[in-house]
């Protein structure tokens, strides 16, 4: 019986152009993409922390790197990824506690996540980068 359950073939549809994700689905895939991107940028962030704390010279060097227009764009994207992962993560924690699991509430909360994370990104970006 259990063996049959394991071997049962389930239908799959992974034809990406035909899949239309609802907003909570878009939130979910950005949660994953942002997590992966933050992981890949960890060495850069650790280097930035190290340089900013080691000596006045390395602090100035880190500031010069961050001041570069290309770095600013990367960092702004990074801040958005962090804020999205943060806000979507809080939404998932609430869903785990069975808060807002109904369809309407889940759609509304995903809209709130996008609005809040983008607003926080603009505020923090404006304060730290420009």
């Amino acid at each position: 019986m259990a063996e049959m359950a394991v071997k049962k073939r389930r239908p799959k549809n992974l034809d990406l152009p035909t899949i239309r994700l609802p907003l909570p689905g878009i939130l979910s895939i950005i949660h994953r993409i942002s997590g992966a991107a933050l992981f890949l940028l960890l060495p850069f962030l650790l280097w930035l922390l190290q340089s900013s704390l080691a000596s006045p010279e390395s602090f100035a060097a880190a500031r010069a790197v961050v001041a570069h227009p290309l770095a600013k764009i990367v960092l702004l994207g990074l801040i958005w990824f962090y804020m999205h992962h943060f806000c979507a993560g809080i939404r998932y924690l609430l869903l785990d506690l069975h808060k807002g699991v109904e369809l309407e509430a889940a759609r509304l909360s995903s809209k709130i996540v996008f609005a809040v994370s983008i607003a926080l990104t603009l505020i923090i970006g404006a304060k730290v980068l420009w």
Binding site: V6, L42, L46, F86, V128
Partner: protein, 115 residues
């Protein structure tokens, strides 16, 4: 030959809990960080360094970074399990991920306790 069938509950429950516990630690630190950086700001080296020289902030930052690394381990491992089907390659990627994360933890300790 023993025919073991992997069905049942609790596989991955520990990881599921750790993923959420580390998320709570990181969320709390994020709020602390935003308040502290909002107040101090990375404008002068001395003020910035003084923030992390403080014992509590040093400890909290290290706790945050260790949470990041453990959280990243579970998340990235899930990505490899979802998308990488050849067993050898998947194992290689998991080992590489775990290795760099352990290295980052050592690096983070060095950064903070050199201050």
């Amino acid at each position: 030959m023993v025919n073991r069938i992997l069905v049942g509950a609790h596989y991955g429950l520990k990881d599921w809990i750790i993923q959420r516990a580390t998320a709570v630690v990181m969320a709390l630190y994020t709020l602390l960080f935003l308040v502290v950086v909002g107040a101090v700001g990375p404008d002068s080296f001395e003020a910035w360094r003084a923030v992390f020289a403080h014992g509590f902030m040093k400890f909290a930052t290290f706790l945050f970074l260790v949470s990041v690394f453990y959280h990243a381990w579970i998340g990235i491992r899930d990505i490899w399990m979802d998308y990488v089907k050849p067993d050898g390659l998947r194992l290689l990627l998991m080992i590489a991920t775990a290795t760099v994360l352990v290295g980052y933890a050592g690096w983070a300790f060095q950064i903070l306790w050199r201050i």
